[in-house]
Subunit: 93 residues, 2 copies
Amino acid sequence: MQEFLGLTQEEASLVEMRLCLANGLRTLRTKQALTQKDVARRVGSSQSRVAKMEAADPAVSIDLLIRTLLSLGAGREAVADMIEGRFGQEAPS
Amino acid sequence: MQEFLGLTQEEASLVEMRLCLANGLRTLRTKQALTQKDVARRVGSSQSRVAKMEAADPAVSIDLLIRTLLSLGAGREAVADMIEGRFGQEAPS
DNA sequence: TGGTAGCATGTCGGATATGACATAGGCTTC
DNA sequence: GAAGCCTATGTCATATCCGACATGCTACCA
C-alpha cells in the first residue's frame, strides 16, 4: 500500500476504507446473485449510483456505502472487517 | 440493545455505529487533552460541529466522524473496533 | 461579582452528495 | 445482427450536510 500521490496518511486511509467497502459490496451482491438494479431498488437508489459505489467513486459517501451493505444483510462486524481491510472469506471449518 | 422505536434493523445499526464513533471521538479527544475547538481547527471545522459529532447528532455524517477520528491519530483498526461496538476496553480472558 | 474557558444547541447560506435519467459498451442468445 | 440484460459513466436539479456564527449554560477562579 502507500500509493502516495500526494495524499496525507488519513486521506489514504479514507480511500482504502472506501475501496474495501466497495469491494465488500460487490462481493456480497454477487454472492447473493443480485443485479445492481436489485440493490438500488432495495435501498431506494439507482443503478448508476450502485455502480459508483462499487467503483469506490469519491463522489459517494461512506454513509451510503454502509447503509447499502447493511441492507444487503451485512452486520456491523462485517462492515468493521471491511474497514479494517480484512474482509473476504471466513474459514468455514 | 434493540431499542425499537420504529427503526428497522439497519437503521438501528447505523445509529449504534454513529454512537460508538461519537464515543470513541470523545474518548480519544479527552485522552489527548484537547478541546473541541482544538479538534475543529485540526480538521478545518468548527467547535459546534465537533460538539454535534460527539453528540452523535443525526445531522453529522459518518464520513465526517471517521475523518475526524483519523485526524486524531486513530487508525483503521480503531475505527473498525468502534463500528463493531468493541472500542475501549477489551476483556482479554 | 465579573471574567474566562469549555461545551451544547439553533440557524443560515453555500457546498456537496443524492436519485433520476440518458447513454454507451460488453456479453449473451436467438 | 438485433434484441435483451448488466454495468459504466456523465449530467442535472434538489436534498442533505457543512462550516460559521450567535447564544446559552456550567464550572472555575480571582
